[in-house]
Symmetry: D2
Subunit: 388 residues, 4 copies
């Protein structure tokens, strides 16, 4: 059994989630043929980094990601630094022959994402992108129903990712609201997940058209930035919000299905409603991340008098991953999706194959994100073929 | 096609519901072989009665129920006066050879209910009791699933009827809170419905034990009594609440199933949650009157990966009564249960058979109500066999 | 108290719903200062018409709508014939000085709708259009919350109208699937309701872009057309579906809110999910017609530890219309929305003012419908200003 | 910062849950002043034990619990062996001056539980009992609302714990179905949790009466026993089920509230529905473990037109423990309740106070369990005072 030695860049929200996944794998999936070794964590603030290292359980720390990449005792680089740092680190790591795990969105734009994929392919490394929602057991069940034809031909996909954490105009201008760091706002942060789920469950996009809005155009400068929470600068200085608060778009998939997407941070009452529905000729499924253990499932061939959406609690042994956790009816949470995700990374490295989703998927997602942005700027339908 | 001429005693909440049912039958169930003719409405307050007559669409009015019974142009007497008036009217009407429809609870006690049943049987009339919830399409579906064995052997029945309309201690002492008029409180008013549903869906009771409480023991005297709403007497005079605010009991059914029942008017937030669940060896069903068009249905033999309660919207053509109303997905309301109930009355009279539920069912329900009361008084399990 | 004498053209699905409303008004809203008199029903098939007349309770019948209009004992003409017949009847009725109630969509296109409005205005009659969903108490509550500013500034409106009644490819080519009769498919039938609700709750549309699809392009010719159900012609002959099975569109409202709309008849498991959500700066509401008595309501200023969507059962006395029906917790159904709608018609005639919604609303809705169609044809954003 | 060295007896379902909690504490609650050190794990099967030790991350293993207790490098003994082993181990550990954590039910009967409490008190150790559901943030919120008087005077508590894992008659006779090992069936396993929640949220029990049933009286002998799953012995040998499949009971609390309880393993479709509702004079709460991140909350003083149960997703910073995990809207799972529970154990040891819940709570729960059993045997109401 060969272990996989991990070096991780970033130690905030995603760094914590990834660390937990690496810690959980040996305990809950002990038969995984390759298990992670938490070699080194990397960040710029030495003090905060040491705190994270100790808290999360990493063997060592590096304040320079270049040094991390140079280390010979690291097999894979896990990048969860802010989006604007992804490319440089990934290119260097690939050049050094390190496998790559990169958080989504893969890059700030299609060109960068393409460059990252090309570099990874040229280097012959494994590359994975962090679309963790694929790894919820209920989403895996949706995928299985689609793949096995149990929903028939797919007609509709509609998805929303609704949050409300910046609805207060006094919430400060954190990095996620600055285009030069985050790339985009709700679109790249939330919409990217929806796009990946759509590709995973329905297929490739043919064309898109979108619209977006920034409802609150100026905000207080933050005194401190971290995760999803922050406080305003005491000085009262304000800055311009340069990303979208909300982005909607419609799509036609290559297989003829119609899609509707909405990502917003201005949906009061929705802390994190990442919800989708698929309608096919033989059935439908509904998912909502706030109840991530559940999938609602409908089949047209149920008996006439008992047709209805079933609330499937995806915690049975028949559901993906669940035999590793607790008895049926005992639910899992958000963080478990990362454990499943990292298992895929370990398995792929062990089996010498590309993980899924990988940089191809990251690039495809980026193309859709960018096509939507272009459709907004140019006020027209944009074909994905324009990106080939 | 023979019509059935109705004389109705009572014109408040139930009188309105019954009138609406008589009006709806010819329009929505035009093929019913016997349709009601709204001959006469009866009450003591001449002015209010005339208002009701005109509003509800009755041909004539009588202020003395004895006169109503004497009329030769009346085939059936519909009794929805307060519970303490049921017996005297029913006995007289039976003696006059009139068919009977009587609201629940049939009587104030088992002895009276027995006397009413005996009189009806002796007179050879048709007799029906107003357990309207049986006639919700979703409840009919539950019955069908049980009867067809699709839920297997029944293990559990649990039911609650939760209301909150008297939770405010300043709500006045309306007739429903006075034992001499109402017979009992939540138990006879709400529990009676649950008992009837249990008998309808599971079977006969073997033994019971209960507990009850009157949380608010004194209330303002009412200035005016009507339906479920009232205002307190300006004088500030108060009277003693002589009925139960809440009654719970457990039962063992003759077929071995276990039952749990709770009726209360002190469940904040529940306007009228009349809900039950049945668990059998092959499946389960759940019903809640606040969503009366729905039945949740579970089958143990669904495929392993898609087991879950189905939310069946019982508005399809496959569901009882629904072809008479609107297209699938277009829901009906509370009042429709009475229309279905009155159709059964019409059909039974036309087909010369007893309607279901009838005074036998009313008596059985009364026996359970009384057995529970006895179990509370004597603090012991009471067998229904003690009432035979 | 002046009564209003009604002549109704059409006697199928909507004719039944309207008839029921006219019957219910005097009983449930007896204090309405003007009540309908069901003078005459009109249709082409004399036999079926007489059956409807008798069943629904109309005084007389006419097989020629021109004769109906000529009658001096008719005050208002209620048009619920197929959409392609609306204009001719409305113009003639207006010319004869009759008030008008017309089912939605008002006309097959903007030009016709405009002509109808102009004629009605010129004739000085009252005119109303049948957007019945406005009249659900839960929708009225949503309106009240928006109007009173309790949701703050509106950011988002998203709505879907999902059905599945034609998902089976063998379902026949009923008139609702033929463009020359129905005008459009899911868009005009279902989307029209969503558009009206959006206008009612959020405001006027600024620009739109849409997409649509006809998934099943040919269907069996029907042997008989009626309501929403039909059987295929035994001959096996097939015809082309000329309307949309599904239409989606996005909008920017004049007040800056973003809107998303989807109407489809291919959403397996959805019999009639007419659902919308509104997100504002101070709160949100959610509505689903399959649970039409409920409105989910969220307020941002709820205490920190108990923030969440409230399930409001809109059956309390505080809710519109509900004091006319049953006690709190006793739900109403689909048909009741028409009763409330017809009360508005009666009140408006009595008070000598235009009902709401009226032909202006019908025209505005038609403009949005047509703008969406144009945006689909021309693959571009279409401004509503192009229709002024 | 003083660490707490743990020795754990048992390594199956609960052993895994506890191990995970000990692993999670330093990472998610790093500021806890005393953190666990996973010193030794103990079990009888050396091979399986070593597998567990390695998988769960314990430093060492012991196959004899007496040796574990003798070790000087252990501060606390965590007992999660089958219920019949609790007492002997606890007494010995207390005698050795070790702090104790014991899974529920504390013992097989009141006498044993009393002996354990007395021994723990005499030894002056800290003692805790494993009622983990108290530690769900949503349950903590319910407690806070009750304690702060925001629900007013409590009238009703009703709770069910519904499972279906043994509904198949061919499911084998695992230890949980054998009275001599498990003490009781659904009552001790599931009912114990409900009783503890009732005591936590409402208060002490005054009197109880119960009923129970064993629906399937004989089952195949198991070939292997583990957690909640097992396979039948190939030989076809069968044994008698000696515990209850379902137990229901009613209670009157000392404060006058009425309680209803049901625990069953025969509720088809319910994998693990641990649900309760509390109704008070000012509001109500509802909880269901299958959606453990949610609490439904109702307040009587909400504005008239927006009264309704709020679905509170207890993942906000205002909710207990949640600042340690993920951003608002990102849910946690079953296992997290144990992490919170073990934090209480660590804090109590550090602060030199008894943890809550402790052996007093375990004993009180045992008294109620036994009073219910006695009430079943003797078919009468049993006062808890009989146990003082």
């Amino acid at each position: 059994m060969g272990n996989v030695r991990v070096g991780m860049v970033g130690y905030k929200f995603m760094g914590k989630a990834h660390s937990n996944a690496y810690r959980a794998l040996p305990m809950f999936f002990p038969k995984t043929p390759a298990l992670p070794v938490m070699k080194a964590i990397c960040g710029r603030n030495a003090e905060a980094l040491e705190q994270a290292r100790s808290q999360f359980g990493w063997e060592s720390a590096e304040t320079d990601w270049r040094k991390l990449i140079e280390r010979s005792d690291i097999d894979v680089i896990d990048i969860n630094a802010p989006s604007d740092a992804h490319k440089e680190i990934a290119l260097a790591a690939a050049a050094a022959g390190k496998h790559l795990f990169c958080e989504k969105p893969l890059a700030l734009n299609v060109a960068d994402a393409k460059e990252m994929l090309d570099a990874a392919e040229a280097a012959g490394i494994k590359h994975m992108v962090g679309f963790n929602y694929r790894f919820a057991p209920a989403v895996q069940l949706a995928k299985k129903l689609v793949s096995d034809g149990r929903l028939g031909e797919i007609y509709h996909f509609r998805a929303v990712f609704l949050q409300d954490w910046i609805i207060d105009p006094s919430f400060p201008l954190v990095w996620r609201l600055q285009k030069e760091v985050a790339g985009s706002g709700s679109h790249g942060d939330l919409g990217a997940h929806l796009i990946d789920l759509a590709r995973f469950l329905v297929g490739e996009f043919d064309e898109v058209i979108g619209m977006s809005e920034t409802f609150i155009k100026e905000r207080p400068l933050p005194s401190e930035m971290t995760g999803l929470s922050a406080k305003g600068d005491a000085s009262g200085a304000r800055g311009k919000v340069t990303v979208d608060d909300a982005t909607l778009f419609m799509t036609r998939f290559e297989n003829g299905a119609l899609g509707s997407f909405e990502a917003t941070r201005f949906a009061a009452g929705h802390r994190s409603t990442n919800a989708f529905e698929i309608n096919g000729s033989k059935g439908s499924v509904k998912f909502d991340f706030e109840r991530l253990n559940e999938l609602e499932v409908y089949f047209t061939d149920d008996a006439d008098d008992v047709q209805g959406f079933r609330r499937v609690l995806a915690t049975d042994p028949a559901h993906a991953y669940m035999d590793a956790w607790w008895p049926a009816g005992h639910t899992i949470g958000y963080e478990h999706t990362f454990t499943h995700e990292m298992q895929e990374l370990m398995l792929a490295i062990h089996e010498d194959r590309q993980p899924v989703p990988n940089f191809h998927d990251g690039l495809r997602c980026q193309e859709v994100l960018e096509a939507v942005e272009q459709s907004i700027t140019e006020r027209r339908w944009v074909k994905l073929a324009e990106y080939k």
